[in-house]
Amino acid sequence: MTAPFLCHMHKKTEKNAVFHMDFTMVTYSSHLKMIDLGKPNNVGKGGGTLDILKLEKVIKNFGGVQALRDVDLNIRQGSVHGLIGPNGSGKTTTFNVISGVFSPTSGKVIFDGKNITGMTPYEIAKHGIGRTFQIPRVMPRMTVLENVMAGMYLRTSTDIMGTFFHLPFKESKQEKHIRYKAMEFLEFVGLDKSAGRWAGDLVWAEQQTLQIARALAGEPKLLLLDEPTAGMGAEESEFIENLIRRIKANGTTIILIAHDVKLVTRASDIVTAIEFGSKIAEGLPEEVKNNPRVVEAYLGTDE
């Protein structure tokens, strides 16, 4: 499952890839079987009727700026929920409120039946929400593989004995295990060939993809993707679209922010449009796309 857009990149960097390869990693062999990604977390597949996330009358103010005004949002379990809106309409702010970077000025966020309003980001992450950032944030001085292993923080525990009382160059069982698992996540997003490269050397599109792999590694129930195709070409976008479908197929719920209307239309089950921090339309992609307010605010009116 190699991403088409990454192929030509490898030709150039294959030598480098080996060069940067973490030497504890060369024992990796590819005959391991695929594990089921994220499956244990989810009940149904492909858009059940349960709401996994609810935003109730969420308001977020920054000083005088009202970024979110009374936003209600229901995300069905197992669906891909598109979020569109002009720049500055509050999409990223919505993500930040859900993931706990900001606590809302008022309103409630309910995830999986639990009120997570005002929790710290790491607590929310523990509850099973993973996210990516509009501008990719990867750890540049770690290998791609290590980045994904870092994403498994939540699904592992610090094993003092294994960490400190093994021989220096012998890995603990857990390390070995997550190394293989991380490799599988990389294979899943098509970055396996780059596993040994430095994340800082990846190009923008690859960093976006790496972010997704890292978020997936935390095995979230809900994945927030903030413009995963920003700065990508058509071919690359298509790959991401395909990736989103596959993540969904594993049962993970996704909220997707994208400016690319075509992507949103094709990939999402439901779309919400917001403008100036308030919801202006919600429904099936085609409905929303043709909603006059959305056309006016976001897509632009025909003359």
């Binding site: 500055g88 309409s89 990508m232 006016e296 632009g300 009116t301």
Partner: protein, 239 residues
């Protein structure tokens, strides 16, 4: 437009960010007194082109000529001094400085015209006069865009570059902004703007270039472009 003099000329310009090629061998011209639009989707290279013109981004190859002088390797401040001004993407407010201070800095290289240009700006946008002592960061999006444009004309530039002026603006504001641009054109300024909102932009501009993945795929009169089926399907939302 042949009789007009050429103010900006770009020849075979290529820009790379590391390995990524953001702009591939672009050629374009801007003549005095016209509005030229750069159309392109996200990541097409519009901002990169504008940043390269003002020297914020290094050109990998090619040549940029402004008023018959080569400015390819000239530093940003000197380019601005020669009479180009920019309305940056996302408006580029100096958020914790006041509206007045933002305006004053717009004429950094022409201190002597500040007073008279301030008057003109306040006349055109009375709201800025009311808000002149407010912090720029607390203005609404539309007001910020007005401020950004006003700031760009404070120094009496010959050429204004606008990077997505309609960004995050409600349609009402978008129309207002474009009408202002047309007024500025009438006053003799030359305008080069980048837009994703191709429909509006083509409606108000004289000519346009269509950028895709860093290359100019089409160019011509705005009306021609607007009628072009390829442009219609790709940028004007007509599937």
């Amino acid at each position: 437009m042949e009789q007009m003099s050429r103010i900006l000329k770009i020849e075979e310009l290529s820009v790379y960010y590391g390995q990524i090629c953001a702009i591939k061998r672009i050629n374009m011209e801007v003549f005095e007194g016209e509005i030229v639009t750069l159309i392109g989707s996200n990541g097409a290279g519009k901002s990169t082109l504008i940043n390269t013109i003002i020297g914020l981004q290094k050109a990998t190859k090619g040549k940029i000529t402004f008023m018959n002088e080569d400015i390819t390797k000239v530093s940003t401040d000197k380019v601005i001094k020669r009479g180009i001004s920019v309305v940056p993407e996302g408006r580029g407010m100096l958020a914790s400085m006041t509206v007045l201070e933002n305006l004053q800095l717009g004429a950094y290289h022409k201190k002597n015209v500040i007073e008279q240009n301030l008057e003109k700006v306040y006349e055109r946008f009375p709201i800025l006069y009311d808000r002149r002592l407010q912090k720029a960061g607390t203005l609404s999006g539309g007001e910020q865009q007005m401020l950004a444009i006003s700031r760009a004309i404070m120094g009496d530039p010959k050429l204004i570059l606008l990077d997505e002026p309609s960004l995050a603006l409600s349609p009402a504001y978008v129309d207002k902004i474009f009408k202002i641009l047309v007024e500025l054109k009438k006053e003799g300024m030359t305008i080069l703007l980048s837009e994703q909102n191709a429909k509006k932009a083509l409606q108000y501009s004289d000519r346009g270039y269509v950028l895709d993945l860093g290359e100019t795929v089409l160019d011509g009169k705005s009306s021609d472009l607007a009628g072009n089926p390829a442009v219609r399907s790709a940028y004007l939302g007509a599937d």
